[in-house]
């Protein structure tokens, strides 16, 4: 029975539920206490031991239901007629196994055929039917079908012979069993949720081309990255964990030394916590990218506490509070509705930004600008950019367009990039990841 559990744990891991060996041992101990007999109880107990977040509990629940279907199957098997009828001598091997062999032998035959067809390689759920077909062929179903056909043609009467009927029903049973077998193998070996595949594809795809319905998935990806960026900051603060003497604590801890101050205690207040100001262009020219950039913006506000987010097309507005209050999609819709779609005016946006929060920019502030720098040939007001650059710790510009398109047409990237610490191309998640990696390396 331990085998069942380890297989189940494997299926869980495949479904992205993280289960450690120690937890597997716990599960074994629990099963000793609870037993396999009561399925509801088993499910509840294993869910307590193996899944440790609400999301994991959901995944666990569906995985458990998929995996432990045996009961139903066992019930069906009882219903099957007792067949012990001998096949003809000239029948194929498969027919013989089906007619004469025990359940275990048939399962073994399926497993063998599965091995031959390299079922372990199964990755995606679309491959299930292919593998089912392959295993059936491997077992010689084609031949059996011919045989049954032949029997039918030999038999002139309307009523098919007993043997033929039996074989037909056995064949249907076999098909079902093979497809169950493939399903189970898929749970064990495949990329069950399809998440890995999707992540791969999404990461390399240009952001403008990803369909809106995948927003949630992409969001979780972007969120992971935003978290990385945030972690960088939280690690930074540890360096600032010394500096101020905590007199109260020092006195108390040094009572032991009769009041002589041997062990000094430092205050644990974090002195520095970097601020991020992030500005996002949502005008018509970056329309396709706007969602992606807003998503990054949103994710950052989720994981970084001291952040202010702004969006603009011509006039600039702050959206920090909106983002904090609502979910991703309504927040993005609201931001787009309020500020999006208009024609770009970087000059206006910059002067709005400066008047709104220049006082807030100091040498701990990081300013990030997301946009394509296409200014509709309007005034650039690059001197404002200079002002920001001189006050802030660092200024990053992330441009979703390909590098070859910068400075073409109305793009004035070169005028702004002079006042940036660094400029990145950032059109897909992969690129975003690279940007963040660079930021992590250089920002400290």
């Amino acid at each position: 029975m331990e085998r069942v559990l380890t297989d189940f744990v494997k299926a869980l891991r495949n479904a992205n539920v993280r289960v450690s060996p120690a937890e597997t041992l716990d599960a074994m101990e629990v099963i000793d206490k609870v037993g396999y007999a009561n399925k509801g109880l088993l499910k509840r107990t294993l869910s307590i031991v193996l899944s440790k977040t609400p999301e994991e509990k959901d995944k666990f629940s569906s995985c458990f239901d998929d995996f432990f279907t045996d009961e139903i199957k066992a019930a069906v098997e009882v219903d099957l007629p007792d067949k012990k009828q001998t096949a003809n001598d000239d029948s194929s091997d498969l027919a013989k196994t089906l007619m004469e062999g025990s359940q275990a032998e048939i399962m073994l035959a399926i497993a063998d055929a599965g091995e031959e067809s390299e079922i372990r390689e199964i990755k995606y759920f679309t491959q299930r039917s292919v593998f089912t077909r392959r295993i059936l062929e491997q077992m010689g179903v084609g031949k059996l079908e011919d045989e049954i056909m032949q029997m039918g043609s030999q038999n002139d009467g309307d009523v098919p012979s007993d043997l033929e009927q039996q074989l037909r029903s056995q064949l249907t049973g076999l098909r079902e069993r093979v497809s169950d077998f493939v399903q189970q193998q898929f749970l064990l070996h495949g990329d069950v949720s399809g998440e890995q595949l999707r992540e791969q594809v999404f990461k390399s795809m240009n952001m403008a081309q990803i369909d809106r319905s995948y927003l949630q998935e992409v969001h979780s990806l972007v969120r992971k990255m935003a978290k990385k960026l945030a972690n960088m900051h939280s690690r930074r603060k540890k360096n600032f964990r010394r500096g101020k003497l905590d007199i109260r604590k020092t006195l108390r801890d040094n009572w032991v030394n009769q009041g002589t101050l041997f062990n000094l205690r430092w205050s644990y207040k974090k002195v520095d916590r970097p601020k991020i100001l992030i500005i996002c262009d949502v005008s018509g020219s970056v329309g396709a990218y706007a969602r992606f950039m807003l998503m990054f913006l949103f994710s950052l506000t989720e994981v970084v506490s001291k952040i202010r987010a702004f969006v603009f097309s011509s006039n600039l507005g702050e959206v920090t509070q909106d983002f904090k209050d609502t979910q991703l999609e309504p927040a993005i819709e609201k931001a787009l509705q309020k500020h999006g779609g208009g024609s770009t005016d970087y000059g206006q946006a910059l002067s709005d930004f400066v008047s709104l929060c220049l006082d807030d920019i100091d040498k701990k502030t990081t300013v990030v600008i997301l946009g394509d720098a296409r200014n509709n040939f309007g005034p650039e007001k690059a001197h404002l950019m200079k002002l920001v650059y001189e006050r802030a710790k660092q200024v990053y510009w992330l441009n979703p367009e390909g590098k070859y398109r910068w400075n073409t047409g109305d793009s004035v990237m070169r005028n702004y990039s002079a006042y940036c610490t660094k400029v990145f191309q950032c059109g897909s998640i992969n690129q975003l990841e690279r940007v963040i990696a660079t930021l992590l390396r250089t920002a400290i």
Partner: protein, 317 residues
């Protein structure tokens, strides 16, 4: 063997309900497992679903003392584990000064004095001078205890590391005294509101119980148990109303504790039935944010008519 756990789980459910805590099967199973495996439970869920109450009830049920450690930012070992009683130590050294002189009488030189002093035990770092804090207390009780570590997520991440030794081995290492093992392993419950992700190391060592908002049926039972004076019809209406509110997009969903408060309020106002006026006037018991109240106020008439319709529908089930 199969009979055993089911029976004990049922006993727990019944025992808890005697103390006014109506628990789902999932909760009872978790408590059973924790007592069987002697493992801590990490309880997560939105605020107000009865996480802390579960620990209190477990203590009543098992007739054990409850020891509570409330976590907060900056909580450290001297507040959670133990601390030396420095004041007492200082006082005693002052008092014992003369005794010291007696002991040292006749000793020549520093070396001899020191070796004489060494003959005595390290009296100032013994149990008499040890102030035990909740975690150490929980390990040293004679009859076992329920240790509630409330809102672990509020404490710093470093504090989690401090808990690991206690949670897996039920022991605390005190450098001056050695390892202190639990006499009777306490039943440990940790609660978290998920204000930050709990570390994997801690999660690995715990059973994990997630308490969601209750379903209508369970919530009705809970209200009945907690506010016995309430009329059946009002109670049904009230629960249906609250369940309706939870489907709206709110900043903070009303939890069970709020439903109970609301039920008590309605009893206090001698109301027999929920109507639009009454619901609107008392919404502030249920909702804690002005924005939420505004959202719900608009929906009140619909929710009322829904909750009026549902009791008859549900009573058939």
């Amino acid at each position: 063997m199969i009979d055993g756990p089911e029976k004990s789980i049922k006993e727990i459910t019944e025992g808890f309900s005697k103390h006014g805590y109506i628990c789902s099967e999932q909760i009872a199973t978790a408590v059973y497992l924790a007592s069987q495996l002697e493992k801590p439970i990490l309880i997560e869920g939105p605020p107000g679903v009865g996480k802390t109450e579960l620990a209190n009830t477990a203590a009543l049920h098992f007739q054990q003392e409850i020891i509570r450690l409330q976590c907060y930012e900056g909580l450290d070992e001297s507040k959670a584990l133990y601390e030396w009683r420095y004041g007492k130590q200082l006082l005693y050294t002052q008092i014992l000064k003369e005794q010291m002189a007696d002991v040292l009488e006749g000793a020549k030189g520093l070396k001899e004095s020191l070796s004489r002093l060494m003959e005595f035990e390290d009296i100032f770092f013994s149990e008499d001078f040890l102030e035990s804090r909740p975690l150490l207390q929980a390990l040293s009780t004679e009859n076992g205890a329920v240790l509630l570590i409330d809102e672990v997520d509020k404490a710093d991440e470093e504090f989690e590391a401090l808990l690991l030794e206690i949670l897996s081995e039920f022991q605390i290492s005190i450098p001056e005294l050695g390892v202190k093992k639990a006499k009777v392993k306490p039943l440990v419950m940790l609660t978290s509101n998920n204000s930050r992700e709990i570390g994997d190391a801690l999660k690995r060592r715990c059973l994990h119980l997630y308490i969601p908002f209750p379903e209508a049926k369970l919530e009705r039972q809970i209200i009945q148990a907690r506010v016995p004076k309430i009329k059946k019809s009002l109670q049904k209406q009230l629960v249906a109303f609250v369940q309706g509110i939870r489907e709206l997009d709110l900043k903070k969903q009303p939890a069970i504790s709020e439903t109970i408060d609301w039920a008590k309020t309605l009893i206090l106002l001698n109301s027999e039935e929920l109507d639009v006026q009454l619901a609107t006037d008392t919404l502030n018991v249920l909702l804690k944010h002005q924005q939420d109240i505004e959202v719900v106020t608009k929906e009140v008439p619909r929710l009322i008519s829904d909750s009026m319709g549902s009791p008859s529908g549900k009573s058939i089930n």
